[in-house]
Amino acid sequence: MSTLHVISHSPFGDNRLASCLRLLGPQDGLLLCGDAVYALNPGTANVASLSTLGPRLYALAEDLQARAIADSPATAVDYPGFVALSLDYDKVNSWL
């Protein structure tokens, strides 16, 4: 079974991303949306560790673009892409 984890909180001053990364399984994916995409800002400590996820790292395109975050290691997805991702993985765990 594989899980798509979804995080929408900024990692600065919040521990959801850190907690998620500790228990992320080898088949799991991570989708960053909302303020969580700030973790992909170039030069942050997060972006280095996140890029090791390779193709399992995703970000909602509108959130990257709105925040002018270019050159992120995440695969940008739109809403149809988000729907497709939710079906590619066996289940979705949103860190509310």
Binding site: M1, T3, S19, L23, L24, G25, D28
Partner: protein, 119 residues
């Protein structure tokens, strides 16, 4: 075959209604005999601390309701070892009998449930 649901509770007992509302999901599912598990993670482990006195804050006793979980058929209860350790809580003397899991154990736990809700 019923789908299994893991409820991950991450909030401290009295930081708003989140802890209670996570528990309510578990109790409702238990009442329908659904296969459920509950994991206490991050500040959620504070719900398990002993000797709490919620009445001093005019709060209900959440720990007492947590103890009802097995009666509702929710017996798969877990806590994250790292969350307990970071917060100075020992695995012994918790208000509820839980299985304590390390990070690999947590990944495996999430993996074996059909659905997850994290509050």
């Amino acid at each position: 075959m019923a789908k299994s649901l893991l409820i991950i509770s991450r909030q401290a007992p009295w930081s708003g209604p989140s802890a209670r509302e996570a528990l309510d999901i578990a109790l409702a599912g238990g009442a329908f005999d659904l296969p459920l598990g509950m994991l206490f993670l991050d500040d959620g482990v504070f719900q398990l601390a002993a000797n709490q006195q919620p009445a001093l804050l005019q709060q209900k006793n959440l720990a007492a309701n947590l103890q009802a979980l097995p009666m509702f058929g929710v017996e798969e209860l877990f806590a994250a070892a790292s969350s307990l350790a970071e917060r100075g809580l020992g695995a012994d003397g918790l208000a509820l009998p839980v299985e304590v899991l390390d990070d690999a154990g947590l990944a495996a736990l999430i993996d074996r449930f059909d659905q997850v809700v994290t509050l």
